[in-house]
Amino acid sequence: MSKLLIEGVARTFPGLRGRPPTRALEPTHLAVADNDFITILGPSGCGKSTLLRIVAGLDTPTEGRVLLDGEPVTGPGPDRGMVFQSYTLFPWLTVRRNICFGLVEKGVPAQRQREIADYFIAKTGLKGFEDHYPKMLSGGMQQRTALARALANDPKILLLDEPFGALDNQTRALMQELLLGIWEGDRKTVLFVTHDIEEAIFLASRVVVMTARPGRIKSVITVDLPYPRVYTMKTSPEFAALKARLTEEIRAESIRADEELAARS
């Protein structure tokens, strides 16, 4: 059985002040198997973030439904951990207490909280920063903490919305490897939204390509690169072939999105 089932999910935003409503997402179907790492790739404004927010329960679909382990999603919950593109650490809590946020909600005993936090602090390379406030951390460190905070809750699925989008290239590459390393160890089910083609290939077992607005799934491409993946693969011929193919698909969509925007204005 699929871990996550997206069944005909569509989203239309009501038009403001008499303007016609905007279709952000066409009815979309997607089945995600347990332990799968899916990246959703598409041009900006293609509704990929909307789709992820619907899975998270932060947005409601106008049609269709999302099933997690056969249970329909009705709102946000700790079984779907999320890392946002913007820095969403709680600025009044230290790194450690940010990581423990969800554990406190669950009522996990303090001793156990400490152990879990220590485990993920070590895993995400945050040792020595436990007592820092988010303000004192670099963007990369903040996103490591956000990842640790989501993982500490032991969610059934991890949702990431362009989590490394605001980071510089070097930090981004390191974070990709960190995330892959964790996934290869824990085998969490992951849904990762990005507009970066290289990132989409490097991380995924399957890349879902979305069309320009209104978004719908254009193709699903399996990435057959072996594990464990290392950064040197990014220069391999197989990687280059995949990249060429995805670049072509995305390019067509970006041009179409541009033309549509021009036609509308």
Binding site: P78, F84, P91
Partner: protein, 260 residues
């Protein structure tokens, strides 16, 4: 000169020196105008005469008691206003229905001048302490409610969403996200309003009071003692400055993540 480069920070020492320099300049101008005979003593006492008046106020007229009474009124009225405004403001910021219920009335009341209530308040509450506290209360409470409501209502939605995905919901969102996020700004709003409370207390004491700094200033007017009047005003300024510095220091200590 590079001291006047836009937005360029200055060292703490220079900052303090510049701040003190203006006080010195101000007193110097005052001294020049009065000692130089530019302004007659009837209208403006010179700095020395003012200090002298201050000394007699404390030694012969028990001015310390007046100062204490005024401080108690400010603090009392301010705490009363904060006790109502902070919880109500939080409720309005968090729940849109509560906001819709109170906001129009509070916005209307905000424009009612507290001083205009003094005659009514004397009628209702007499000329005792209750009336003084009420003037300060009316002057600060409505402003504070709206400020707190705006601060709490402006909580970053991405933080709230993050908390939802971590399993918090309902009241826990308020207690674990909205309140801690808003706390330092609420503290800053309180600091601002405490400054206003000082203006209201003097207004309240100008009419129907038998003690307090404002009462002393009114008494001095009858005697045409500009030295005492100016000293009273300066004392208000000094206490205001001290309370502001203390309040600020407390805020910075309480919320290091926000201020540092």
């Amino acid at each position: 000169m590079n001291l006047l480069t836009p937005l360029k920070p200055v060292s703490p020492t220079l900052r303090l020196a510049l701040g003190i320099a203006f006080f010195v300049l101000f007193v110097a101008a005052w001294a020049a105008a009065t000692f130089g005979g530019l302004i007659r003593p009837l209208f403006l006492a010179d700095p020395l005469k003012t200090l002298e008046s201050g000394w007699t106020l404390f030694t012969e007229f028990g001015f310390a008691f007046d100062v204490a009474v005024t401080i108690w009124r400010v603090v009392g009225g301010f705490i009363l206003a904060a006790a109502i405004a902070v919880p109500l403001g939080i409720a309005m910021g968090a729940f849109k229905a509560v906001e819709a219920f109170f906001e129009p009335f509070v916005s209307f009341s905000r424009y009612l001048p507290a001083s205009a209530f003094i005659p009514l308040l004397i009628l209702w509450a007499g000329v005792g302490e209750a009336q003084k506290l009420l003037v300060i209360f009316i002057g600060s409470v409505f402003q504070l409610i709206l400020m707190v409501a705006v601060i709490v209502g402006g909580t970053r939605t991405d933080l709230v969403e993050a908390a939802y995905t971590l399993g918090a919901k309902g009241r826990r969102i308020i207690s674990r996200v909205m309140l801690p996020a808003a706390a330092p700004q609420i503290a800053e709003a309180l600091r601002l309003v405490l400054g206003w409370a000082w203006t209201y207390v003097i207004v309240a004491e100008l009419i129907g009071a038998s003690s307090g700094i404002g009462h002393m200033i009114m008494d001095s007017q009858r005697l045409l003692d500009t030295g005492q009047m100016i000293f009273g005003i300066v004392v208000i300024g000094i206490i205001g400055l001290i309370s502001d510095v203390l309040f600020k220091a407390a805020n910075e200590r309480l919320f290091p993540w926000y201020f540092r």
